[in-house]
């Protein structure tokens, strides 16, 4: 995790699995607590599992509830993106925050 001046940048590691879900939650909570807008960088992500997806979803919901901005940058690897697409995360499910969908859809 590294902090820029504006916004707060959260660099995600290559493997986002259940072992990392706890620290990811803390990092997002800290970032949101900093009072700045948060930019979550997916550039280094190679694999992401459901536990971390849930944390990102909760993070977005918290950001929205507190009036903060949380954005996603970077690309997911094609395979990881295709898996998420198969699981319905990128098929236009309106229940997901649009920003999360956009973030997870960063395949182009």
């Amino acid at each position: 995790m590294s902090s820029g001046t504006m916004p707060f940048v959260l660099n995600l590691g290559p493997t986002l699995n259940v072992e990392k879900a706890g620290s990811l939650r803390k990092d997002i909570a800290d970032a949101l607590g900093s009072g700045e807008s948060v930019s979550v960088d997916f550039s280094a992500v190679e694999e992401i599992d459901l536990s971390c997806l849930q944390v990102l979803y909760a993070g977005l919901a918290s950001a929205k509830a507190s009036g903060r901005e949380m954005h996603f940058v970077g690309n997911l690897p094609q395979k990881a993106g295709e898996r998420l697409k198969a699981c319905g995360f990128l098929c236009g499910a309106k229940a997901l925050a649009a920003d999360l969908e956009t973030a997870l859809g960063l395949l182009s």
Binding site: V18, G22, L50, Q54, A58, S62, A65, R83, C87, G88
Partner: protein
């Protein structure tokens, strides 16, 4: 009757050749990604379909061999056997043997039968490695005729509700992989429900809060679906319902879907329909139903429409023997020649009426020629896979490591040109492996990577298609 049976058999052969062609691709990809469950399933389904259809049309040798092949793939599918390079080598040989067997209904020449027996022994030996010692060696039993003759499961549309338990992550279960495998069984649309995820500060990051509804249209049965989740059966709620039987899926109204799901009553729907607003909006406003429930029902509606449209489209395309297309193109060629003579005659006679008819005729002939030629156009990628196999087999034979990288597979060429390109390209690619790629030791000594790369590129260049083969022996 015999004639119509011959027609069915010819269609079966064509389709089986297609499946075996795809199987070759899947096996080559599996060699690169041995843990790819979707590929293993696809290979298994291809062999399973060939086996079932072969038994139905009386291709007993094909059916028997495919049965043993399927047994080995099934062991890979359930994780009992690992997919190694040796196994892929054997599976590719098995696939080649099946293709040869397809030429014979029952009487198989002795040399081919002997090859088959040797391969069957190797399959049995592989399968034996993956079985518990007390298990009966199934591979040594002859294929049970009744089992082999069972037709593949009919196509159905299932609604699968998958609710993993909260603690499911703790044993390392990769939930997304399971959903992806389910979706890979056929045409599917998944809808994840994430509304139960608590706020960031209140959530347990190691708990699962998400559940799915998946609409799946596939030639499978409930057991095959349940098999995917068998290892977490005690940690998940799984509901499998059939929402449509057969391939002819009809689109349905949202209200009918919601009633069918038990989300609302007919009376609720009837009342909501009296409003000027959309059905979903009214039901949500009246708190009869939640937004995710509506969205999930919309996914189901969209899925049924998609499958319906796909089937309609499939029904509007037909298979035509390539000889008939060749004959059509020849006839069009003769028409073009005749038209040129007509045009010249109209000029020679100076007859304006004839010249006008000739011009109109010329335009129509040009369109007819373009249409006829376009029917024979195929993407060149259909032959690229053959070259991947050539590179793989020759590298092994020569003790080299080489990878074929292709680009422009979608480039279209006339079918006859593609056929004529096959042999010269095989020759060039064989030479590239033989003379353009060094042995791994020599490559490492020269500071290169162990494996060499051969790049095969097809692209349009003006009115031509340019095919390039590059051996990157410097890297």
């Amino acid at each position: 009757m015999a004639q119509s049976m011959d027609k069915f058999k010819a269609t079966f052969r064509e389709e089986a050749f297609e499946l075996l062609g795809k199987l070759e691709d899947q096996l080559l990809e599996l060699e690169e990604q041995p843990l790819n469950g979707e590929l293993i399933n696809a290979a298994f389904r291809a062999i399973h379909t060939v086996k079932g259809s072969a038994a139905m049309f009386g291709f007993d040798a094909v059916s028997k061999f495919a049965h043993e092949f399927e047994t080995a793939l099934d062991l890979c599918r359930n994780g009992t056997l690992s997919i190694t390079k040796d196994f892929i080598g054997l599976a590719l040989k098995g696939r080649d043997h099946l293709r040869r067997l397809m030429e014979y209904e029952s009487e198989v020449p002795e040399d081919i039968a002997t090859d088959g027996e040797a391969l069957l022994k190797r399959f049995a030996s592989f399968a034996a490695k993956g079985k518990p010692k007390e298990a009966e060696p199934r591979a040594e039993k002859p294929a049970p005729v009744e089992e082999a003759r069972q037709p593949a499961a009919p196509t159905r549309t299932f609604r699968v509700v998958f609710k993993p338990a909260a603690g499911v992550f703790r044993n390392g279960t990769k939930i997304l992989n399971l959903v992806e495998e389910l979706v890979g069984m056929g045409v599917a649309d998944a809808f994840p429900h994430m509304k139960s995820i608590p706020a960031l500060g209140e959530m347990d990051p190691e708990s699962c809060y998400t559940w799915w509804e998946v609409l799946l249209t596939a030639a499978t049965d409930e057991n095959a679906i349940r098999d995917i989740f068998i290892f977490i059966a005690d940690q998940a709620e799984l509901k499998v319902e059939v929402v449509a039987e057969g391939e002819s899926v009809e689109p349905r109204r949202l209200g009918d879907i919601l009633v069918d799901r038990g989300d609302v009553s007919r009376a609720d729907v009837a009342e909501a329909l009296n409003s000027q607003k959309k059905l979903g909006e009214v039901l949500v406003e009246k708190k009869v139903i939640s937004t995710p429930q509506i969205e999930s029902a919309l996914v189901e509606q969209e899925h049924l429409k998609k499958v319906h449209d796909h089937n309609e489209m499939a029904a509007s395309s037909i298979r035509v023997a390539s000889e008939k297309l060749d004959s059509l193109v020849d006839l069009v060629g003769e028409l073009v020649t005749l038209q040129a003579r007509l045009a010249q005659t109209s000029i020679d006679l100076g007859d304006s009426t004839l010249a006008s008819i000739s011009e109109q005729f010329d335009r129509l002939i040009s369109q007819l020629r373009d249409n006829a030629m376009s029917i024979r156009m195929l993407p060149i990628g259909s032959t690229f896979n053959k070259f991947r196999r050539v590179v793989r087999d020759l590298s092994l034979e020569l003790g080299k490591e080489a990878e074929l990288v292709t680009d422009g597979a979608e480039t279209e060429l006339d079918k006859t040109v593609i056929e004529k390109l096959g042999d010269p390209l095989v020759h060039i690619i064989r030479n590239s492996v033989d003379h353009g790629i060094e042995h791994p030791d020599a490559r490492i000594a020269a500071g290169k990577q162990r494996a060499g790369t051969i790049k095969l590129v097809a692209r349009h260049s003006g009115a031509y298609v340019l095919i390039t083969v590059v051996t990157r022996h410097r890297f």
